[in-house]
Symmetry: C2
Subunit: 225 residues, 2 copies
Amino acid sequence: IIQIEKIAREYEMGGSKIYALDGVNLEIGRGEYVSLVGPSGSGKTTLFNLIGGLDRPTQGVVYIDGVDISKLDAYELAWLRCRKIGYIFQTFNLIPVLTATENVALPTVFAGVPRDEGLKKAEKILASVGLKERLHHKPGELSAGQQQRVAIARAMANDPAIILADEPTGNLDLNTGMEIIDLLHGLNKSRGMTLIAATHDLKMIKASDRIVWMRDGKIEKIERG
Amino acid sequence: IIQIEKIAREYEMGGSKIYALDGVNLEIGRGEYVSLVGPSGSGKTTLFNLIGGLDRPTQGVVYIDGVDISKLDAYELAWLRCRKIGYIFQTFNLIPVLTATENVALPTVFAGVPRDEGLKKAEKILASVGLKERLHHKPGELSAGQQQRVAIARAMANDPAIILADEPTGNLDLNTGMEIIDLLHGLNKSRGMTLIAATHDLKMIKASDRIVWMRDGKIEKIERG
Ligand SMILES: Nc1ncnc2c1ncn2[C@@H]1O[C@H](COP(=O)(O)OP(=O)(O)OP(=O)(O)O)[C@@H](O)[C@H]1O
Ligand SMILES: Nc1ncnc2c1ncn2[C@@H]1O[C@H](COP(=O)(O)OP(=O)(O)OP(=O)(O)O)[C@@H](O)[C@H]1O
Ligand SMILES: [Mg+2]
Ligand SMILES: [Mg+2]
């Protein structure tokens, strides 16, 4: 479902070049659960931003379902980012003035789902991540791990074919982290949702089908999970 | 050095009360390394904000060096927050328009250290957290784990007597996390700096002198490390 060919992402900083990604080739099959593991700064978030169409590579091509995503028009790109892909940001990126429920329901608004139906679905997903008692809290009225779970719930709102999860358990205790891993793994197994997770969490790595090890913007090795 | 007596922190949410902390008593000795462990939402960050004088309790008293911090005037409180305590925020709270070096040097400006000396010290601390190649990057030009390490470096800038570390390894891979734990533990052992760390990271918990287990705003039990 996803093919990455010779991807590079350079940054120019005051005369010197930084290669956040430097010649990455990767293929991910439909319904696979892949872990992306590597040191801080090795290029995981950068790769996610390219797969999710939130950033453009300096070189190389990203194909989703055989289509080069740099060739999509604004409408098709929006559809990709809103309907096909669910994105769990490493820094949550919740909207501060909206409640947890409104944050989770937002993607459904863009997908044309009626408001009440979207809010009801949002409440159901928030209950499934353990936040039934925090539906009307704004992000500033939530702990970091609770905000992270709202971000996880939001990614599931449109039943996407692919979820890009960037460090989804970083702020969670072991038990809550395990619940989230079971939830995401369950969607992968029951609905055939493709799950790509950047993580340092051994529990998540163990549950995956394949592990892609990254270092300094390159893929070091790929293992069976 | 820190005494917490019958602390509570309530929030009023549309008619119902939420107890982020509900009757917490705790004493932490000078030079101790204490881990604060508990599920997401159990009150760790709230307790840090009260100890660090960034928030006021609804009930109870926080004493630092025998002084009730709610009785401090604005000048004494600023001295406490800037010189005595180093704060590693769970969400980093770096200043986006400043470089990594300027962010780390900022507390030294408030402490009256000459500018060049502060910047030089900041570069030294940034090198000690593995960011020698990222001194002039702004937060937006850094990975999340790199931003977290800038936040850790900033907390060390004024050689504080106490460091409050809120999930300092959440975004770091195992090796980088280990380096940070060794660094903080080293300051604790060599300089007698008091270290209080909220964490879900087993490596950090194991290195500590005592473990305070929290749940639903209360202390559940306290163990020797
Ligand atoms: N401004 C607020 N209004 C209402 N409730 C709040 C507010 N801030 C925090 N809370 C609630 O207080 C509880 C404690 O929050 P706190 O941030 O201290 O938890 P935590 O232990 O740090 O969690 P985490 O491990 O997820 O960071 C949470 O349930 C949270 O929803
Ligand atoms: N805008 C930018 N300008 C310059 N360098 C950048 C920029 N954004 C990212 N980088 C660099 O690119 C590298 C890869 O960053 P990326 O965020 O992808 O790492 P990561 O693997 O997600 O790390 P972490 O585990 O800490 O989240 C880092 O070394 C970072 O400093
Ligand atoms: Mg990242
Ligand atoms: Mg917290």
